[in-house]
Symmetry: C2
Subunit: 141 residues, 2 copies
């Protein structure tokens, strides 16, 4: 039964991952979506960045990013400050509320990662990450 192609397996994994994320987010009563979470994480990791940097990292259309950011601003999770280097863009930064939410998210991610990698060795997991990155590089060259 050749439905087990390499691509199907990956799609299944990511789908299961998203469902888990969704469940945990709901359980914590966090009124937020997956893309919002990724956006908040990126802004935090980069310390401060612009909308186009987020778009470039996520490889998404800038229109989508604009809307994503607007929702986060409306929820008081991030702020937009003037970018001294370029009057067209603004620097994004997490608010206190955003930082607090991020902490909860990190907890969820840790839980899911533990569940997902149960019984697997460090080497196996690290190897998996490296292959994942290489596959992505090959596709995006």
């Amino acid at each position: 039964m050749p439905t087990n192609t390499s691509l199907e397996n990956l799609f299944h994994l990511v789908h299961a991952l998203k469902q888990q994320m969704h469940r945990h987010i709901e359980e914590l009563g966090l009124n937020i979506t997956a893309m919002h979470i990724r956006t908040i994480s990126i802004i935090n990791d980069k310390g401060s960045c612009t909308a186009s940097e987020v778009a470039s990292f996520l490889q998404r259309d800038k229109a989508q990013i604009t809307r994503l950011l607007n929702a986060l601003i409306k929820d008081d999770l991030i702020t937009k400050e003037n970018n001294p280097d370029d009057k067209r863009s603004q620097c994004l930064r997490l608010t206190e509320k955003g930082l607090h939410l991020l902490k909860q998210i990190k907890g969820i991610e840790k839980t899911i990662f533990k569940m997902m990698s149960n019984g697997m060795s460090e080497e196996t997991l690290e190897g998996f990450q490296q292959v994942t990155k290489q596959l992505t590089r090959n596709l995006t060259g």
Copy 2:
């Protein structure tokens, strides 16, 4: 810069994969979406199956599957025949047109897989598949 979490890496890979699929589908002028393709593949692989089997395999809401199947029927890619075992459900099968489309899809998947796995050994790829499956099992167990 810890944006390279395990989850982010996976999301990136699948996103890149979907973009490649989309590009190839457009280039061939196939007027079809990613979920339609997966649905057609499943029906073909199972030989014949019902809507709820598709829903179960894809882990999707049955409402989504109904609409997916309706689109495929409208495009004359699959047919619905009476299920002798259960009057509530119907057996799905690919039409000639569906089989022809599937061949084109298989070609695209092969191309993408080649590109993605360029320079990687059989063992590495097989190991990756196994880990992917195990991670999924751990999440859905």
